[in-house]
């Protein structure tokens, strides 16, 4: 299948979401602002839940709201991510598969991304993620060589910086939004902070393909 590119913004927010709730399973949606067709470019993500992932009402509500927001901002839902509470098991749960299936109904090359908690040590060299794509009706592991993160080392450093400074607590997921609806689940504030830390793009440096870790 096709290539998938994961942007700095999407990766950092996903990663921080998992770090913000280390004792819970967390999940969220992957978004793209590029038109359909060709490689999938995940340009943003919306963190959803950290409690009761398998329960339907809030998930349905979140999907509807994110759909509406995407229509307003010319984005599409192209995938789903999840990080399991149990660090030793990073395989997709039934509810992950269910939601990913639903997304795949609307988006041909939707991706399912699992964050591998076991690989999230302070000095990890390769992105701690595992991606799945839909082949026929089953979700199968994606070839690592087709997954790209531009400026990987910089992205990783941005995530660490935000963690160290405690700014990861700025992240609002849908669950937190329902606890206090003045909080913004589109995370405009955090997005701005991440953009600030990201240096001007130079596409030729530090491209990381998951199959070939950048060796320094």
């Amino acid at each position: 299948m096709g290539e998938v590119e994961l942007s700095c913004l999407a990766y950092v927010k996903m990663y921080l979401h998992a770090c913000l709730f280390p004792r819970c399973s967390v999940n969220g949606l992957l978004l793209s602002s590029s038109p359909a067709g060709g490689a999938v470019c995940v340009t943003d993500c919306v963190p959803l839940l950290h409690t009761h992932l398998p329960l339907a009402p809030i998930t349905q509500l979140a999907l509807t709201q994110v759909d509406v927001w995407c229509a307003q901002t010319q984005q599409r839902i192209v995938g789903y991510y999840q990080a399991n509470a149990c660090v030793s098991d990073s395989s997709p749960t039934p509810c992950a598969l269910k939601i990913a299936d639903k997304i795949a109904e609307q988006c041909n090359n939707a991706v399912l991304l699992m964050i591998d908690g076991g690989k999230m040590s302070p000095d990890y060299r390769v992105p701690p993620i595992v991606m799945y794509e839909r082949k026929d009706t089953r979700w199968t592991l994606k070839d690592k060589h087709t997954i790209m993160l531009r400026q990987w080392e910089e992205t990783r450093d941005i995530a660490s910086q935000l963690l160290d400074s405690g700014d990861h607590s700025l992240l609002v997921d849908f669950d937190s939004h329902l606890d206090d609806i003045t909080r913004d689940w589109t995370n405009q504030k955090l997005n701005a902070k991440i953009a600030e830390l990201a240096s001007p793009a130079n596409d030729n440096l530090g491209v990381c393909q998951l199959g070939n870790p950048v060796l320094r």
Partner: protein, 309 residues
């Protein structure tokens, strides 16, 4: 880095009282407990009197939760020089209360944090040998099963535990969570029913029960879910999940081909009421902050589109 007392301008008494409040409310804000507790222990130990022992226990558990093994216990003799002057929590507790079951449990928890589950289990078994009614040790054993991903066994053990200790709220709630993760919604609902019976004023249990019923699906369950979302709102009219839940369940019932006109009409009324409440809540929230304009707009559109269909 500035001390807690400097950053928040608090006295040691206020810090001690805050720790007590967190203890009584059983908060799991471990990072905060470690920050406040560590400073209290290092700077003000002499003033705390007998309170210090319970603070050691509280801080130790929080330290384990944050992987602060240096605070909980030194991991090897060579680390002795780098540990804080007063010695670490577990050491102090062991020294003061040799042979105590309560301290033994803490030692077990530390083994769990180091993922030495076999050793931890043996520790708890030895506690249970001396005292078969020790609920803490039994619950730790179940936690080990959960940490190892052995959900089926954890569920079985927890059920056995609850046969004996039927009033343990925490255990009932834990069991409901385990069942939800296994997608066994019927049994999760049963646990939540137990909790609602003993805690009729707790809006969170009502709302969780409603969510489980909604997930089970089918007209009867949807109607039950709507009733319990409404009940949760009665107990706390600011519970947004319950409000949205009421809206969604009522809309689904109204849209179902199996209901008669009266039921349909009633549910449209409930859904409309909920819509207005949601709108109001978001209008109030949207005032003054530019940030959540996106979410407010998204809700408006969502409600418009559903009321039109």
């Amino acid at each position: 880095m500035a001390s807690v007392s400097e950053m928040y301008d608090v006295t040691w008494e206020e810090m001690r009282d805050k720790l007590r409040k967190w203890r009584e409310d059983n908060h799991r804000n471990s990072e905060q407990i470690v920050d406040v507790g560590e400073e209290l222990i290092n700077e003000h130990a002499s003033k705390l009197g007998d309170d210090i022992w319970i603070i050691y226990e509280q801080v130790m558990i929080a330290a384990l939760d944050c992987s602060r093994d240096d605070l909980a216990w030194v991991s090897s003799p060579s680390d002795m020089s780098s540990s804080s002057e007063q010695g670490t929590c577990l050491q102090e507790l062991k020294r003061q209360f040799p042979g105590s079951q309560r301290v033994k449990r803490l030692a077990g928890m530390r083994l769990e944090a180091l993922e030495k589950y076999e050793d931890a289990s043996k520790q708890y078994d030895s506690i249970l040998q001396d005292d078969p009614t020790n609920t803490a040790a039994r619950k730790r054993k179940i936690s080990i099963l959960k940490a190892q991903g052995k959900s089926a066994e954890a569920i079985r053990e927890l059920n056995e535990y609850l046969e004996q200790f039927v009033g343990d709220q925490e255990a009932w709630h834990e069991l409901s969570e385990l069942y939800i993760n296994e997608h066994d919604y019927g049994k999760a609902a049963f646990c939540l029913e137990e909790l609602m019976m003993t805690n009729p004023h707790n809006h969170l249990y009502c709302e969780q029960y409603a969510e489980v019923k909604y997930t089970q699906g089918g007209l009867e369950n949807l109607e039950l879910s709507r009733k319990y979302f409404a009940q949760a709102l009665k107990l706390n009219n600011r519970n947004m999940r319950a409000l949205f839940g009421l809206y969604m369940s009522a809309s689904h019932i109204a849209a179902s081909p199996k209901v008669n006109a009266t039921v349909k009409k009633a549910n449209v009324k409930y859904a409309t009421w909920a819509t207005n409440q949601i709108n109001r809540a978001y209008q109030l929230a949207g005032r003054g902050t530019k940030e959540n304009k996106c979410s407010v707009k998204a809700v408006e559109e969502m409600l418009e589109s559903i009321t039109m269909s």
